[in-house]
């Protein structure tokens, strides 16, 4: 027998050790990028974990820990600790923060500005900060892409993978790239809401009575006024004398990129940024739940077929027969005062309801592809050498339906954003003070023909833009993973979007 056996395949670790330079370069870059925003990252993480922990604790105790009595001291401790983490994050140095590049200050009699970044006018200071944030974000994404390229050219053992084709097709897909850019802008808006907005939401809406604004009055004196009062006096109410439109300053030297809102006033851009956060939160959670259920049932019904398929068809049909808006109204009444309804003023509740209601559409979208792949002989082959059913589904079927989940998921997020906005517009959605785009449209709809047209118009346009972008992104992914399907699928995708729209 031959004794000359080679074990020449090398784990990634050793491949990197053999040629460490490109990997090291990339890793150093990544660390630098992360350090730049360390404070923001830690505090965002803290916020997310705190929210998550509160939901878990709430689920066990029925009340959010903050309100409950001594019954869950431990839970309260956890939440407090996470809150501490968030605070700690805030204390960490962060390069691109509102503290480092402040846009709030007062004009000086000499015509300059006091308190703003480098004495720039607030508009410029703000725009500079927003520019830096987005530059950071795009650079960060590019750096990840660069990491992938580094891996491909230096460490990957296969000289070609099917993913390369997808990437190649996406690289020339302009419509999909347009969608991606808009979606990144939208996600950035939500993710960095505290930094990109001209004023924090806390100061603007939640506790305006606890903040003061300094401004230069007509007589050349620096005065202070409560934020609440400043907001009220600079609110947009339709007539030109009491209106602060887009890209203009109010009487207190504050810059409003999107203008101000009506009663009780406040910055529209700030509202939109924090609202993006809420939409993103609801959309992602609902999509996560739906996607998980849809993938689970899609694999199950395609693998076992027959009765299991029939059962899921019946269940999903029943769910699709439920009038979504009626159910949502019902739920918001039934859950009034319930601890679940307190997160984001009903936002979490909506996310759960949408997640549990919208999976049938997603399941139907992946059912066809799942059946198709289950008919492939490699699934039989896996059975013939005794591969377990779960592993077979995960390894031999799931990769083929993930793409479809992404496509329809991105359409669904668009649909959910519309639905939530529509509900808020009708006044049964997310209640104040949590910002929601649809509510801005509702609040501003009386002013559309007046000087304060921006209150309804800007959120409305942004909703359309974001939903279109999500659709474009979905189209891009579809063409990337399945170039044959071009026209055949569009009917289905429109249906999915329409379904998502409730």
């Amino acid at each position: 027998m031959s004794t000359q056996h080679q074990y020449e395949d090398v784990p990634l670790r050793e491949r990197i050790a053999a040629n460490p330079q490109p990997a090291a370069l990339w890793a150093v870059g990544l660390v630098v990028l992360l350090l730049l925003q360390l404070g923001a990252i830690v505090s965002t993480l803290g916020t997310a974990l705190e929210l998550f922990a509160s939901v878990i604790i709430g689920a066990f105790h029925g009340t959010p820990s903050g309100i409950s009595p001594a019954s869950n001291v431990a839970g309260a401790g956890v939440v407090a600790a996470l809150n501490g983490l968030e605070q700690f994050g805030r204390s960490l140095p962060t390069l691109l923060s509102r503290e480092f590049i402040p846009n709030q200050g007062h004009a000086t009699t000499e015509g300059g500005w006091d308190g703003t970044f480098l004495g720039l006018p607030p508009a410029f200071a703000w725009a500079f900060r927003v520019f830096l944030i987005y530059a950071y974000m795009f650079f960060f994404l590019w750096w990840l892409w660069f990491g992938y390229r580094t891996f491909v050219s230096h460490y990957r053992q296969a000289d070609w993978t099917p993913r390369d084709d997808v990437v190649r097709r996406l690289r020339t897909h302009r419509w999909g790239q347009f969608g991606l850019v808009i979606v990144v802008l939208f996600v950035g808006l939500g993710l960095f809401a505290p930094t990109v907005s001209p004023v924090t939401y806390d100061e603007d809406v939640i506790n305006p009575l606890e903040y003061e604004v300094e401004y230069l009055d007509d007589s050349g004196e620096v005065q202070t006024i409560l934020s609440a009062d400043a907001n009220l006096q600079s609110a947009s109410r339709g007539n030109p004398s009491s209106n602060v439109g887009p890209l203009s300053y109010d009487d207190f030297g504050r810059f409003h990129p999107f203008g101000t809102m009506n009663n009780p006033g406040g910055d529209l851009f700030t509202f939109m940024a924090y609202g993006a956060r809420v939409s993103l939160f609801i959309g992602l959670i609902a999509m996560g739940i739906s996607g998980f259920i849809a993938a689970f049932f899609g694999l199950l019904t395609a693998y076992y077929k027959g009765l299991s398929d029939l059962a899921v068809v019946v269940v999903s049909d029943s769910i699709q027969a439920i009038p979504v808006f009626l159910l949502v109204i019902l739920v918001s009444v039934v859950f009034q005062g319930h601890w679940l309804a307190e997160f984001y003023d009903g936002g979490l509740l909506f996310a759960l309801v949408f997640g549990l209601l919208y999976w049938p559409g997603l399941w139907r979208a992946v059912r066809g592809p799942a059946f198709q792949v289950s008919e492939q002989e490699w699934v039989d082959a896996a059975r013939s050498y005794g591969q377990g059913s779960i592993t077979t589904m995960r390894k031999h079927m799931l990769p083929y339906i993930l793409g479809y989940l992404l496509i329809y998921g991105s359409l669904m997020i668009g649909g959910i954003i519309i639905s939530v906005s529509a509900l808020s517009f009708l006044g049964i959605g997310i209640s104040p003070p949590t910002p929601e785009w649809g509510r801005a449209v509702a609040d501003g709809r009386g002013y559309v023909t007046t000087a304060s047209w921006h209150i309804a118009f800007i959120p409305g346009i942004l909703i359309v833009l974001v939903v279109t972008a999500l659709n474009a992104l979905g189209d891009g992914i579809r063409d990337g993973i399945d170039p044959q399907s071009e026209s055949g699928e569009s009917g289905a995708s429109e249906a999915a979007a329409a379904g998502g729209g409730g």
Binding site: Q157, Q376, S384, G386
Partner: protein, 586 residues
């Protein structure tokens, strides 16, 4: 093959020559509908065996159940009834761990190399997956040279199955042999033997991780099937059909099976590649002592590679036996028809071609008697009708077939309703069917008139032809449009098809040209159909013209010294042998 390997094979044989024994196997698929649907009888009771080391061919038209049979043997389909003995054990009763263990011994190579490999995995991952599933290698240890109780510790374990142990340790001394097929150099195995009065404890340490052994095994497999090691990190898309099939074969061989089902392994490949793959399969069989079930519809391939052949039709094996013999001298009427369809390589051979009429019946509703009875050219006829000529028989069988077909065709709801209301449906038109199916004859006088009309039309005297037809045939005798009929008659003659022109007129104006006793029965059957009672019509015809072929499933009769058997009533002493019947017909 090493000596121990050889020894092991003979030992395992255990005096049992057959590796696979199939008895009364049935595989039915439940019908698609929810209510009251007939199962598809894909495999409907087959018996055969496969000897160790041989290749059994399984041939038949598509849809005859051969693929289902193959898949049932490797338990990709559940057997409905019957048993599949593998090395003496009925695998249809296995469950859980036992199935999994057994799966190492029986593997399958699929037909479509495009679909049998997961495109998202590298070739290495694909071939390695079966190894991962079974946590290959076992690293089981045989300790030889001692009578004492043996204990194995460390990485190894005591060999418990019939397979050859991966590692053999000799005591005393602790000399190590690793069997072929495990890519492990002996010097990477360290052994520590401790002996007490009654036991020997062997500690075996292997300093190569299983994962690495598997990868090395995959590389070996790649070269075994004629690919290169560097293909490990490629994806299926980067390979041609033939190469992909090699990968499929490597995957099937990964676990060192004894039995491999080859499900039309070359039918999706270019002819130039087919031969290479077939040679590879033969080499592998030689090298690893494999037993094959080779499923194919290409008969020449089967003849080339198989020791024995089974011919399948509608879920049954019609003939099974030695390959050369079966091809040279087929006994079963179906085999004879099938083989006569192969283009003859020897032009001097004047063997007649047998064309089968119709299509195979639906496996949901197979014939009661012989599965081939609806199409068999030498079907046995009842003795009282033995004298009828071939044309008449063809007509009768066709007529019965059509009535059966009409029974099966799903009638839509409206059609049923119309039938109940006594309205015309597409299922009427019985006269037309009778005209089509049976030969017709004119009176002598009319026949002569027809001759004259043909002659006139042929010499371009159309008007005369029209006149002859007009005076001799009364348009009111037929429901067809007379002028149209004459027009097509003339154009047929002009096109040179005189026969067709004549039969056009004969069909319309003639009498059914069958012997009187048949005529009466057909007429009665037609009456029944007119009354809407097709059931009665079918029964009547079966009663009158049916034979043992319609009512009784045949037995397998031995038809040669070598043990070849054929599934046909004609091998019984009281009937003519199929060849004789074919001979008589021609």
């Amino acid at each position: 093959m090493s000596e121990t390997e050889e020894l092991r094979r003979t030992e395992r044989t255990d005096g049992r020559r057959d590796l696979v024994n199939v008895n009364g196997l049935k595989t039915y698929y439940e019908g698609g509908g929810l209510i009251n649907s007939q199962p598809v009888k894909a495999v409907d009771g087959v018996d055969f065996h496969i000897e160790r080391g041989e290749t059994l061919g399984l041939v038949g038209e598509s849809g005859c159940g051969k693929t289902t049979l193959g898949r049932t043997l490797v338990r990709l389909e559940r057997a409905t009834d019957g048993e599949v003995l593998f090395d003496g054990d009925d695998i249809t009763t296995f469950s859980g761990k036992r199935v999994k263990r057994w799966r190492r011994d029986a593997q399958i190579v699929f037909q479509d190399p495009e679909s049998s490999l997961n495109d998202r995995m590298t070739i290495g991952e694909i071939i390695q997956e079966p190894l991962n599933v079974h946590d290959w290698p076992d690293l089981d240890v045989d300790v030889v040279g001692t009578q004492k109780q043996v204990e194995v510790t460390g990485d190894g374990s005591v060999n418990q199955d019939e397979r050859e142990a991966d590692i053999t340790v000799e005591v005393p001394g602790g000399a190590v042999t690793v069997r072929d097929g495990v890519p492990l150099p002996e010097d990477r195995v360290s052994v520590d033997v401790t002996e007490s009065d009654s036991t020997v404890t062997v500690r075996v340490d292997v300093d190569v991780a299983r994962k690495r052994l598997r990868r090395a095994r995959v590389r070996e497999l790649l070269t075994t099937v004629g690919l290169r090691e560097e293909h490990y990190f490629r994806y299926p898309h980067q390979f041609s059909g033939g190469q992909r099939q090699r990968i499929g074969i490597a995957r099937a061989l990964a676990l060192e099976p004894e039995f491999v089902v080859l499900d039309e392994p070359v039918s999706a490949l270019d002819v130039s590649v087919q031969a290479k793959i077939l040679n590879l399969l033969e080499d592998l069989q030689e090298e690893f002592g494999l037993t094959y079930l080779f499923i194919a519809h290409d008969l020449s391939v089967v003849r080339h590679i198989c020791d024995r052949v089974a011919v399948m039709y509608l879920g049954h094996i019609m003939e099974i036996g030695d390959s050369e013999e079966l091809f040279e001298n087929p006994k079963n009427p179906y085999t004879q028809s099938l083989l006569s369809a192969i283009p003859e390589t020897d032009p001097t051979d004047d063997k007649q071609r047998i064309t089968l009429r119709g299509t195979p019946p639906s496996p949901r509703d197979p014939p009661q008697g012989c599965p081939f009875s609806t199409r068999c050219p030498v079907k046995i006829h009842p003795s009282e009708y033995e004298h009828l000529d071939e044309k008449t028989w063809e007509g009768i069988e066709l007529f019965r077939e059509i009535l059966r077909e009409r029974q099966r065709a799903d009638r839509s709801f409206t059609e049923r309703a119309r039938a109940i209301l006594g309205m015309e449906t597409r299922f009427s038109g019985i006269d037309e069917i009778v005209r089509e199916v049976f030969p017709h004859r004119l009176t002598q006088e009319r026949e002569q008139a027809l001759d004259r009309a043909v002659e006139a039309a042929a010499s371009n005297r159309e008007d005369e032809a029209r006149e002859i037809l007009g005076t001799n045939f009364d348009p009111s005798e037929t429901d067809a449009d007379f002028d149209d009929l004459v027009d097509s008659f003339i154009s047929d003659v002009h096109a040179g098809s005189h026969g067709q022109a004549r039969s056009r007129i004969r069909e319309r104006f003639g009498e059914m040209d069958v012997p009187g006793e048949v005529r009466g029965d057909v007429d009665r059957a037609v009456e029944h159909v007119r009354d809407g009672d097709e059931q009665a019509a079918r029964e009547l015809l079966r009663e009158e013209f049916g034979s043992v072929c319609d009512t009784e499933p045949p037995d397998h009769h031995s038809v040669s010294q070598s043990g070849r058997t054929s599934y046909c009533h004609r091998h019984l002493a009281e009937h003519e042998e199929p060849e004789v019947a074919f001979e008589r017909q021609s």
